[in-house]
Symmetry: C2
Subunit: 166 residues, 2 copies
């Protein structure tokens, strides 16, 4: 099958050194500060980024091994199809977080609300634009009534060092 | 440098067969219907997806060659750092679109507001959850006052068949 090859544009520095006990979404990491260190060869691409209050970050969930098509999410007690969850053990383990930009200095971007592991490789950052990214969604499936719990629920070990692809 | 290898989970069928003239964001493609054909080995992962009105789709911008660190975006007349734009000619050409789910039938997901090229390889779909994805952003940099134009501005050829990495 076709392969798609990417290379990280930088690496994250965050207070989270273990999957266990870390926040599962930025809403559970309000005020947590981290830094994106963009590799020097990409620094030019950061120009104008300081005009935005928020960015969308795409990153590689580098501690996830293998994937599952059905998982029991952190916020639920039932198994769900992986594409109906935000769980990390996905066929392509790409994470997405909307983060607040505190400052851009050279190749360093200081960010707030970081919910990623330290040393996470970053694939892309895009400006968060309300006209593009805010939608009037009205059905949230199994998240209905439980997504608010992400403010306090923490990760456990269920998705780390898991057996290979199913 | 480290390589990250992904494999598509499926392919998109859309009405757009050429980069030129296509919408640049889902807000410019309201009502446009397309289909995600998930490869059969991933079909199980779609369970429960029909409970959601919207999904976040991540896809590989397969017609983009090379990248640029400064680009003149479709909505602007000035050059901007690539990470302060939504332009496709990124170091890692990953696109993101929030789409309305019309139906999920077997391995087929019918979607509305599609702004992607036909035959685009899909990397991931995640449920759109307002509690996670809607943020009270208040600064939109150079997009301020122009992001609304994405409703009518169409793509041209500026990012296709471009010279190799800069």
């Amino acid at each position: 099958m076709q392969q798609i090859v990417y290379r990280p544009i930088g690496i994250l520095h965050t207070p989270f050194h273990s999957v266990r006990g870390m926040p599962i979404q930025p809403v559970g990491a309000i005020g947590v500060v981290g830094r994106l260190e963009v590799y020097p060869e990409f620094e030019e691409g950061l120009r104008d980024l300081d005009g935005f209050s928020h960015v969308i970050m795409l990153y590689h969930l580098h501690k996830i091994q293998g994937h599952a098509l059905s998982v029991r999410p952190f916020l639920d007690t039932s198994e769900r199809g992986i594409f109906a969850t935000r769980s990390p053990r996905r066929p392509n383990p790409i994470g997405i977080s909307v983060l607040r930009v505190l400052s851009v200095t050279g190749n360093m971007v200081e960010l707030e609300n970081v919910d990623m592991l330290d040393q996470t490789p970053v694939l892309d950052i895009k400006p968060y634009v309300a006209d593009f990214d805010v939608w009037d969604a009205d059905r949230f499936g199994w998240f209905d009534g439980v997504s608010g719990n992400a403010v306090r629920v923490r990760s456990d070990g269920r998705f780390e060092s898991a057996p290979s692809c199913e």
